[in-house]
Symmetry: C2
Subunit: 149 residues, 2 copies
């Protein structure tokens, strides 16, 4: 089942009404998949012809996060990023290019193992985690070499 369908069903079960704006936000999130900002969602909805107010986008994201249907994270550029949370619990983390701001996803089993081992030994009850690797993406490394900048 696609994430967007799963999300809509979950919201309905949780007692939320099925409104056009919220459905559109879910559709947009399902379409882009990874690491979008609220602004990007708004732009996508605009280009689709779905006119949704900013407030509704934020409110939809708030509900989705509360229901565990989206994960919110931050790569340090002052705009929160959101992405679908898969019911399987499967997830990834992010590479961020410090030069151009590009965000790319990666998965790593070894990292997950290290984190779950760690989660057991700390005194907090851990229920989520976030890893961000920062550096230079291949394109930026390339152009820097070429232009000596």
């Amino acid at each position: 089942m696609k994430w967007s369908e799963h999300a809509l069903v979950s919201l309905e079960r949780a007692g939320y009404r099925s409104s056009a704006p919220r459905t559109a936000v879910v559709g947009a999130l399902g379409a882009v998949g990874c690491g979008v900002t609220a602004r990007q969602i708004g732009n996508l909805l605009d280009s689709r012809g779905d006119r949704v107010g900013v407030a509704s986008i934020y409110r939809a994201l708030e509900v989705l996060e509360a229901e565990g249907l989206v994960q919110r994270f931050d790569v340090g550029d002052s705009a929160a990023r959101y992405e679908p949370a898969l019911p399987s619990g499967e997830h990834h983390h992010h590479l961020v290019c410090e030069r151009c701001g590009e965000v790319e996803a990666f998965e790593d089993e070894g990292l997950e193992r290290a984190i779950s081992r760690l989660a057991r030994r700390v005194d907090f009850a851990i229920d989520a985690h976030d890893v961000t690797l920062k550096g230079e993406c291949p394109e930026c490394s390339g152009s820097r070499r070429r232009s000596s900048r």
Copy 2:
């Protein structure tokens, strides 16, 4: 050598002038150590009697980060956090309580190993990383159990 002294020397060597406001910001950062926001630095400076404008705090932090003397990170509460970067490269990561917002530091060798292994296999040139574990701190778990909330 204390971090604050190291930082001041590094700035001077890099050609920055040694001004009272910037020196005060370095002093404040050195005093608190871990995960402070710009606002907290401002408050500390106020209580010390050092009157430093917000803009200067941000500008000082910008310079320090550019020189690799402080690390900036984000725990998702919409205010950037800063902490001294030790010249040894030694560093830690953070536990964040989702209930009360408390931020605590931890170190984990296994995690660092997993990350450096990972950094070698991705196509970005990684030069930094950030790990945030989210959950409930001991105090919040306790009070929740006691008050059933």
